[in-house]
């Protein structure tokens, strides 16, 4: 199958974040970056689909500054065939603006399947995939935890609150990938890393419009009061119950 995967470069979430002087973004100095978790799983899912169905081509697309080429190279090292950077110095927070730029690139690509992450862990928006699908008028299933593709049709499962939904749809289609679709993303092998250097990576300007959402403030959440150990073993249970009743008032 001809598959496209949209991948985003995001800060590693294990780091401590600081707010920039502007008060409207995080301070990027010294931050380490990776591919967003869900997007890594989407790349893995694409590789597994084509391994199962005997071949095809996988294109990865990332919108952002030149640093996203590193993210694209990682996907190429995992096994994707070619990369496209939609170049812009600043990545907007407005998902629709990103979706429009991605849709413009994907529209005439002739893809059977376009994969997204369920959400990008930095913006935590979870909107881009479904928006691209609408802009391209393609069938779309979001937050997919199980996927089978056979004879031009797809069958997917998605988690509901306390349940599971089974969805059927025709290809070409857009699917956004939830945790559980693949066990884990493969690590690029040395051979893959070497091969990735020779794979095509095209750079085009991102066609971004005016963003409709602006950040007016970013702040760190109020610190939790420092933790408190109230005792050891079962002997501490009566005190815990008292605190839950009298202090926390949850019992």
């Amino acid at each position: 199958m001809k598959i496209a995967v949209c991948i985003k470069r995001v800060p590693d979430m294990e780091q401590r974040f600081r707010i920039a002087g502007s008060g409207t973004s995080v301070d990027e100095t010294g931050l380490k970056y990776t591919m967003s978790d869900f997007d890594e799983w989407a790349v893995e899912a694409a590789l597994q689909l084509n391994e199962k169905h005997g071949g095809g081509e996988i294109t990865v697309v990332s919108l952002g500054p030149d640093a996203v080429q590193e993210t694209i190279r990682k996907a190429l090292a995992m096994g994707a065939d070619r990369g496209v950077q939609l170049k812009t110095e600043a990545v907007p927070v407005d998902g629709l603006a990103i979706a429009r730029a991605l849709a413009a690139e994907l529209r005439d690509g002739g893809y059977d399947l376009i994969l997204f992450g369920k959400l990008a862990v930095d913006t935590s928006s979870g909107v881009t995939g479904a928006m691209v699908a609408e802009l391209l008028d393609l069938p779309c299933v979001t937050a997919v935890a199980k996927l089978d593709v056979e004879n031009g049709r797809g069958r997917a499962e998605r988690a509901l609150e306390g349940g599971v939904e089974v969805v059927e749809f025709p290809l070409p289609a857009v699917v956004t990938v939830d945790q559980g679709l693949v066990a884990q993303a493969r690590y690029p092998a040395l051979k893959g890393i070497m091969a990735a250097k020779k794979k095509p990576l095209e750079v085009k300007p991102a066609q971004l419009g005016q963003p409709g959402v602006t950040v007016t403030k970013m702040e760190l959440p109020p610190e939790r009061a420092p933790g408190r150990i109230i005792g050891e073993g079962a002997a501490a249970v009566p005190e815990l119950v008292r605190l839950l009743q009298e202090e926390a008032k949850v019992l």
């Binding site: 974040f17 928006s125 909107v127 609408e134 950040v215 959440p221 939790r224 109230i230 501490a236 815990l240």
Partner: protein, 329 residues
């Protein structure tokens, strides 16, 4: 005077709690912008209109009802086309969806159809004068962003539990509406919904969450966690990724960066180390209790009440004590 729109989510014919939250938020926005009407959209199989009264009691003036036997299950393309059509012609100042499994699927489709931005998964939405602002956790909850939505209507999806459903006696007048897309033309079809065990509270809706980690040693020992949840009565069961990856519990119960985010009144962490990716999903809980045999486990840094000890000893004692407290003794 400005009207607002709310999508009233149903599943299996039942009205979801998030529907009342969306209507409540739409009511608040209408009141803050001059006291207009709230129009709620209800989609489902015939009979779904019976929920109009409940929506009225939470502040809906008009309930737009799309009822068709083919719409017993959520049908994304029909719901999106119809919501977009109503919003386009409605002159609304804001449209509120839920950031639930269904609402998170629906809202971005509607936004793209309308060419309007969407502020998704917001924990607060406010109208002051002309400005509509929202609060949205970013960077897995480590940072909070305040966003201004310039477009009208402002489209938002509301994190479940972010708004307390409140009474707002309104007429809830039913207005039948034709679907903007014939159900037969939908390409994406829900063929089956497998409901979890009946009577179980969902993680997003439960005021108390009791979660277990690898410290429980084996799948069958989750019985301890389930019994504690049952003793509370209003609790759901959660798990760490270590546990869901090992197949002890379903992925749908995983709390954290790559799982569910919960903000319950009380979160009880049993045999959980407190990895940063787990904390991302529960650090906004009002009160956190941790039970762990390692006094240096990072979970104790965020726990309001920590007990250092063996889960196999502490949890049964706690379950017994909670039962006793519930009995009023």
């Amino acid at each position: 005077m400005a009207n607002t729109f709310a999508y009233a989510e149903t599943r299996g014919g039942e009205l979801r709690k998030v529907a009342l939250e969306a209507v409540t938020a739409a009511r608040q926005l209408a009141d803050a912008t001059g006291g207009g009407e709230v129009h709620a959209l209800l989609v489902g199989a015939p009979g779904v209109e019976a929920h109009a009264a409940t929506l009225g009691q939470h502040g809906a003036d008009v309930v737009l009802v799309v009822s068709d036997p083919a719409l017993a299950n959520y049908t994304p393309e029909v719901a999106a086309a119809t919501a977009a059509e109503r919003i386009r012609g409605g002159g609304y100042v804001a449209a509120v969806f839920s950031a639930s499994a269904q609402g998170s699927d629906l809202a971005p489709r509607v936004a793209a159809k309308l060419g309007l931005p969407l502020a998704s998964d917001v924990v607060a939405v406010q109208a002051a004068g002309d400005a509509i602002t929202v609060r949205h956790p970013v960077y897995t909850g480590k940072v909070f962003a305040t966003l201004t939505v310039a477009a009208r209507p402002a489209l938002v999806s509301l994190r479940p539990g972010a708004v307390l459903p409140t009474a707002g006696a309104r007429a809830g007048r039913v207005e039948p509406v034709a679907p903007a897309l014939a159900p037969a033309q939908a390409r994406v079809i829900v063929t089956e919904v497998r409901e979890g065990a009946k009577g179980k509270l969902d993680l997003a809706e439960a005021p108390i969450v009791v979660s277990g980690g690898r410290g429980l040693k084996a799948a069958e020992n989750f019985r301890l966690v389930e019994e504690l949840a049952d003793a509370f009565g209003n609790a759901a069961v959660g798990a760490t990724r270590a546990v869901t990856d090992d197949g002890w519990r379903p992925h749908s119960e995983q709390i954290g960066q790559t799982g569910r985010t919960v903000s319950p009144e009380l979160y009880v962490a049993v045999g959980i180390s407190g990895a940063i990716q787990h904390l991302a999903g529960m650090r906004t809980a009002k009160t956190i209790v941790a039970i762990n045999k390692d006094k240096d486990a990072p979970i104790f840094k965020v726990a309001d009440y920590g007990i250092v000890g063996d889960a196999f000893e502490v949890v049964p004692a706690l379950t017994e004590a909670v039962r006793a407290a519930k009995r009023g003794g």
